[in-house]
């Protein structure tokens, strides 16, 4: 069987459809906007509002954490989806989804520092040393931090493609740490965090799929 090289069918990487990025930005921002509207409502308009549940602090905290995990899983799904479908424009979403994951993780941590620790980093350190649940959460955040800092084109140039790629495998570490953080958080046996672990494992397995470009080059060689 002869495959046409996919690179020729796909649109160039730098020209995704104009609607794609704004649509995904809007989707990723929606839960944050909902939280902001909820807090404005609660603090200034209607103190009895239940739009963020009866425990708005826990609701916000859980919401931000869950969105960090969801956007991170989405970012990690980009390359495997491209490999499976060959739809190149999706690659333009990887960086922005990763940055959304970092943004939600930073808000999650910031909200924790504000509401539980009065911004005491000493307390945070003590917390992390005492409780595995906090330790894994911090590990996840610290794994995302260098990725966010090296997300620019110039950073990729400075590091060199190979090194940059190696560094950015930390995203998997962040994902695993975040899921363990989630599993350690819930009471009793709950399926939800395990679903995320399953998704991460599946995405990791897909990494070992042959690279499309190389596979197609190989298929053109005579048998």
């Amino acid at each position: 069987m002869v495959h046409a090289p996919p690179a020729r069918r796909a649109r160039p990487l730098n020209a995704p459809p104009a609607w794609l990025k704004p649509a995904v930005h809007a989707l990723a921002a929606m839960p944050l906007i909902w939280l902001i509207i909820g807090w404005v409502d609660l603090l200034w308009l209607n103190p009895a509002s239940l739009s963020l549940s009866a425990e708005p602090v826990a609701y916000t905290h859980n919401g931000l954490g869950l969105m960090a995990l969801r956007t991170l899983v989405a970012a990690l799904a980009v390359t495997p989806v491209y490999k499976l479908t060959g739809w190149a424009p999706i690659m333009s979403l990887r960086r922005m989804l990763g940055l959304w994951a970092f943004a939600y993780a930073a808000l999650h941590l910031g909200f924790y520092l504000l509401m539980e620790l009065d911004f005491s980093l000493v307390q945070l350190w003590k917390d992390a040393m005492k409780r595995n649940f906090i330790l894994f959460g911090m590990l996840g955040f610290l794994a995302l931090l260098p990725l966010a800092l090296t997300s620019t084109r110039s950073a990729i140039r400075r590091l060199g493609g190979r090194n940059w790629q190696r560094l950015h495998r930390l995203a998997y570490l962040a994902g695993i740490a975040a899921v363990i953080h989630f599993i350690l958080r819930v009471k009793g046996f709950q399926v939800e965090p395990w679903v995320y672990l399953g998704l991460l494992m599946a995405l990791f397995a897909l990494r070992f799929m042959p690279n499309r470009k190389r596979a197609s080059r190989a298929s053109r060689q005579p048998a």
């Binding site: 009895a48 549940s53 009866a54 425990e55 009793g188």
Partner: protein
Amino acid sequence: MPYHSRPDWQLPEREATPVEIYASRRTFVASLATAGLLPSAAIASTDPAKLTPLKARRTIATSEEPTALSAVASYNNFYEFGLGKDDPARNAHSLKPSPWTLKVGGLVKKPLTIDVDQWIAKAPLEERILRLRCVEGWSMVIPWVGFPMSALIKAVEPLGSAKYVRFTTLADSGQMPGIRFPALDWPYREGLRMDEAMNPLTTLAVGLYGRRLPNQNGAPLRLVVPWKYGFKSIKSIVAVDFVERQPLTSWNQSQPSEYGFFSNVNPDVDHPRWSQATERRIGEFRRRKTLPFNGYGEQVASLYKGMDLQKFF
């Protein structure tokens, strides 16, 4: 001559209504509803405003502001109806708390089968405003309606060998969608030592905020043990048994290192995964200090004299 007066809510075994008649009674009520004859107050609902009002005499009060009814009826842990805090209010409409039979037995002289509706209609009800502290680190102040657990204990006359009381929640997957999922080993079970159960603070609640219990709060009958973490206050009870040995309780069974049998509120004994030193009162944004025995030390600390509370957490 010893004379044991039968409390007026006690239903003799011979009068316990067979299931078929219960079922037809429900059909009868439904026919009333279609005919527009049903009064607006309901015995079962997830909407607290629709529930039957109860007359009660206030016996325990506090200077603290009670938590808003809307929060009490919308923020619940009742895993039989789902794991999310808002799941019980959304899903518990399928619970049928009337008619409801409570069986009280085990090591007692006079086992009882109680029709809970009749009991609620006849029992002298008290309003007791009590703090509830969840093991997860949040708390509420709730005006319960009910009666002291000790009244029930005295009525069944436990044998000398009865050292503990075991409580069991309904486990009916038809009424409780969460049962299909093994979050815990169903049915949900809880237990108290006899002296804990006899303590005047230990309450059997049948209502809150002056009306019958909303389904999501454990209708029609639940336990309230205000100095212990909330999960000890078992909901929708179908059986109370007096036993000789410490009973196996659901959370203790699922994770013994995290949830002890006693589970007294104790700021000095952390949950292995989070601190118990502070709590967030629902309706407030900042955390406040958690008090030993949830502030009821004066009434209950003597129950645990000489016990190492770090060990028996």
